[in-house]
Symmetry: C2
Subunit: 446 residues, 2 copies
Amino acid sequence: MNFIIIGGDAAGMSAASRAKRTDPNLEVIVLEQTQDVSYSACGMPYNIADPVRPIDDLVVRKAEVFRQKQGIDLRVGYRVEAIDPSRRTVSGTGVDGRPFVLAYDRLLIATGARPAIPDVPGIDSDGVVALKNLDDGRRIKALLRGRNADRVVILGMGYIALEMAEALRSRGIAVSLVKPRPGLLPWMAPELSAVVGEELAANGVVRHDGHRLERIEARGERLRVVGDRLDLTADMVLAAVGVVPNSEMAAAAGLALGPGQAVAVDRGLQTSVPDIYAAGDCADAFHVVTGQRVYIPLALRANRAGWAAADNVCGRRAEVDGVAGTAVFKVFNLEVARTGLTVDEAAAAGFDPVSVAVTTSSRAHAHPGAGKIHVHLVGDRSSGRLLGAQMVGTEGAAHRINAAAVALHARMTVDAFAQTDLSYAPPFGPVWDPLLTAANQLLKKI
Amino acid sequence: MNFIIIGGDAAGMSAASRAKRTDPNLEVIVLEQTQDVSYSACGMPYNIADPVRPIDDLVVRKAEVFRQKQGIDLRVGYRVEAIDPSRRTVSGTGVDGRPFVLAYDRLLIATGARPAIPDVPGIDSDGVVALKNLDDGRRIKALLRGRNADRVVILGMGYIALEMAEALRSRGIAVSLVKPRPGLLPWMAPELSAVVGEELAANGVVRHDGHRLERIEARGERLRVVGDRLDLTADMVLAAVGVVPNSEMAAAAGLALGPGQAVAVDRGLQTSVPDIYAAGDCADAFHVVTGQRVYIPLALRANRAGWAAADNVCGRRAEVDGVAGTAVFKVFNLEVARTGLTVDEAAAAGFDPVSVAVTTSSRAHAHPGAGKIHVHLVGDRSSGRLLGAQMVGTEGAAHRINAAAVALHARMTVDAFAQTDLSYAPPFGPVWDPLLTAANQLLKKI
């Protein structure tokens, strides 16, 4: 039996390794269109921050290791262009430019996502880049060096936009962020997003939110970014307005799509077509709070889904619980974290949301070096359930959020969460953990 | 109606404030034998580390605030010596040295704990100290300064001993730790306690474990610490071998005691005698994993129990879920954390424990500044339940442990915990959080 995997990134290589470990006799073929497999994509902003460090530092495992030590038939430079479920084949163009057709017994679609690109004139100009794969990282580093860049415009204000803003500022580059809708991090409670806004301003990042982009003009090695009440010049423009799943090929093969046009999968990662699985940034997931399908492409889910798909292919029935939407990023001296639903998401899912925002110290009374930590909690008035949490702070947000994430998986009430025995020592927080203080406040409103 | 509270520390003042907020007409009388109320006792090692900063920095709220702003009848310098449940009175010695008798309607025993003192000749010598209340902190700071101390012997190797070792080393003082039983932190998995041992050694702390203490001899302003194969000289000896609950008065009044001779309370903080509650370091608790009574005196529990006792006094039925034994401390550059049961505790409670220890990076692949993080997880082979976790690392242990603590409250299986959607970003950890990596490994053994 063979197992063909389209895509050699997080989900694809996790699945390949897991399948080969579980069943060494299984023929595992990975078809990857780029030359790079198994690298820390999320680490690229931090690598780009350092002009000297080669981007290849981010490679976790080289292709040869997968081939020689793990026995995976890993083919880089292979682009799959079509899936034919009736004939059980995949076809495309090989590394030599010649067409290929391969028959599969089990297939995993792990084609990932690609950056969304704003549809404006000039977006294809030289110097307009996106950040998704290692080649993008190479291109950006070369561009910054080649143009001796001192001004960059970033389209978008999400995680990657903010991480890249920090990376570029650390190289002394002036950074402007542009997006059409007003407001920073609209999913975030205003009390918390204001803190992030202050941090960006304090670090010299200029925000232009509420400015529609109209066109980009190339002027030699410079770019002019023109929009509604907007006229900026830059050496490089980075498009970081989100990602879209690479699901067109799956759709063309007749597979059902879910939210955000991602490939729809069940808890066993099976698509709507027998023997075809999908995992990673191209696929959807169930949300642990709502039970509904969502498209939240993040790295842990991709790895976990790759494993589970491989287990099912190998005959070990595996189901994944779903995602809580837990995410964290660093922006300058702040940790920003979330899990679960926002108030708006909760209302849309049929809950009766009630929320609270509290600010406490990051360390105990009188402990030196303390900063502020801001917590926003969302609960359901009718059931008393905890629905979501957001945190922003100079320290202690990134890992603290996980306590709330576990509570969401356990479907805990705010009352039960407020009773949990969380850690305390003066260097790490107040006696009442900020999450508990917020939960106690939220209880008064439920 | 009146509510008399014996003890004005964490549990007592939490109860007093909560009761007065809930029922402003309630007469709330707090009898505190020292002059200090409402201070960060856990902050004392960090204050002692700084020769200049006054210990009174640790005072959170002054007595006048409780009296004038909150309307609490707070009497400092009042020592309660007896409780008479049949007459519903407490009696003792007042600030003026005169005896007093007060009748109560509801009584809260919040007498706390005191340091255990090794019973050896010379233990009462000048220069032998313990660290529990603010006066102890004052005494230690004065002693270190007055004797221009450069050598301290600490009896014990628990949290406080290690925190004080760090504090004293930061002042350039030579520190020796002494305890009779061999091994550092015997509750900890050997792979993890070895890391703590290396950290102590790297910071010049000398350990003498497995050396029975025989006597202390005063030699002017110096102390000689003599034991089995042990002869040390010090300017100060700190006894930090644990605490014992101040429960003798409760026992004399006929109240039932629980583990560790702590006052036995139910989930509503009621003692075995009607209208008498107990909370804080003098009282026991139920363990959320075993459901059994335990004596684990920690600050969060004291505050929470004080609140719940006050709610019950005010007619708002309140129960507390119990303790998971979550604790964290800092020792030099390490964060050390635990929650739930050790393997030995699990076996003693009737579980069939299985455990795993893993070491991962504290940050993502190739992210600069990473350290190691060590995780030990304990599960139950028969039920699959997660029973406990321990972590040691240069970063990321203190708050991460809370994810496991919440899982214990939710009685999660290791399988369910391994499925949780925990946060990931390169500066804060690997894609698979160290807790998840450990859970995945533990699953293989269950």
